[in-house]
Amino acid sequence: MTETLTAPSATRGLVEITGVRKSFGPAEVLKGVSLTVEPGGVAVIVGPSGSGKSTLLRTINHLEKVDGGHITIDGQLVGYEVRGDRLHELREKDILKQRTEIGMVFQNFNLFPHLTALENVAEAPVVAQGRSKAEARRRGLELLDRVGLKDRADAYPRQLSGGQQQRVAIARALALDPKILLFDEPTSALDPELVNEVLDVIRELATSGTTLIVVTHEMGFARDVADTVVFMDQGQIVEQGTPQEIFTNPQEPRTRSFFSKVLEPAFNI
């Protein structure tokens, strides 16, 4: 655990999703999705609700088991192990170990309400990585400082605003030094005036060398920060490309019709 987050490392955080399928009962929410995110890259997934964006994100850290296809991180399968010609499902212990390399930030924060901001951040490094409590606290304070909340370290989540809570959640995800950070609509539960404080933190992370995969409805943010914008609809990737390509010159009619509904006229010059 000597790598620091600020040092860009091009060798870690390659995400390859190949032909992933997932159904909930009769509804197929992912219909064979393939996507590659380069190490240190920033992929922003956009699309209408119910298009499978969040489910795709949740398959990357095996919160959802895939029904078909596979996902690798730096060439290593997520949730399975190859033995001979078979894929053996990993035991929970090993899945947890994989997950420590993949941080996740949720739409509704999911901070632990009975723990203070600092305790939230310092919990996982101690129990999942075996660091000392003192070190985890020191590092936790550092991370809270980084998201601008050092002075609220001892506050409980309910004593914080939504934006502050989400920034604590980001610090918590960073505490394990993940290769990859997943953001599941990180600003959707926030009041409009709180959205930017969270986006600013993510924006700063985009340059840190960690691979970011962000599901969001913030198109302005996607245009500014993404290397790749992925447009999903009905369980499939309809189109992907640079923000320039996707926002100003979408090829597919479905993409065009979606953006015509969500983009403000001034934006679509």
């Binding site: 850290n61 996740m104 949720f106 509704n108 999942a128 394990l176």
Partner: protein
Amino acid sequence: MSSAATKVAQSQPQPAAVAPPARPGTPVRQATDYSSYRVVAAKYPWRWVGTAVVALGVLAVAWSLATNPRWEWGVVAQWFTAQSVVKGLVETLKLTAISGVLGFVLGFTLALMRLSASPLLVSVSWTFSWIFRSTPLLVQMLLWYNLGYLYEKISLGIPFTDVRFFEVQTTTLISQFAAAVLGLTLNQAAYSAEIIRGGILSVDQGQLEAAATLGIPAWRRSTRIVLPQAMRAILPTAFNEIIGLVKGTSIVYVLAYSELFYTVQVIYNRTQQVLPLLLVATLWYIVITSVLSVFQYYIERHYSKGAVRNLPLTPLQKARKFFATHAAAPSRRNF
């Protein structure tokens, strides 16, 4: 108050009231200073009538308790701390503590079984709760005590073989105490299993997901993340159960086990002072329940950490604050 309200209404349209810091030199109409006004609390006359009626009722009850000679308070006082009664009280506390702890430990296990993915564990747990919640505690108690009739010997060995490590007469193993603890524990476990399960289910699924994404191991996830939050839902009902158990121990009298209730029964059968002695037992049960309520208050307060923005003051802190503010010079109000 109405005149004050009018003044406020008048001062509102003034631009000075809207733009907060008035620039020096600018002529501003002086805003009325209300800080010297005395606040008169709103009056609710019917509340006073209701209070008076209830107070009268309380007084009447107290009066009759104090003056009716048939309560025989002298006898109550005489027996209240009698050695035999205290001994019975200790037995009651012992039964409560042992079956309470064992019952909740077993209940926790049953709750986890019920929430597990194994259909067998789920059905065993369900059946356990079903049986023990369906049979009267009294029947269970007598059944355990008479286990020797059903099974003469109890042995430990390898099932379906003749290998026996250990064998004992059922009647020697199941004493009155053992039957009482067994009955109360199993019954308690059946109820607490449901309470604990309910508490665990009340914790948001997102908490588990967040813990899982952070790589927190399953055991730590239960003890550090889920249970502390579940406790808020579990505690009020759990204390109900424990208080019920305190009094539930009185059912052990059917086994002629000398806990509090059986003890006073023995005494009044001898002295014929039935009501005063029942009063002795009642008062002790009230004392136990009151002590438990204090524990409940502070334990619940402990687990409400983070669940409320600011913890409410404890009665002690309230009293301190009351005296601090009222001892200080009056007349000035704090907003």
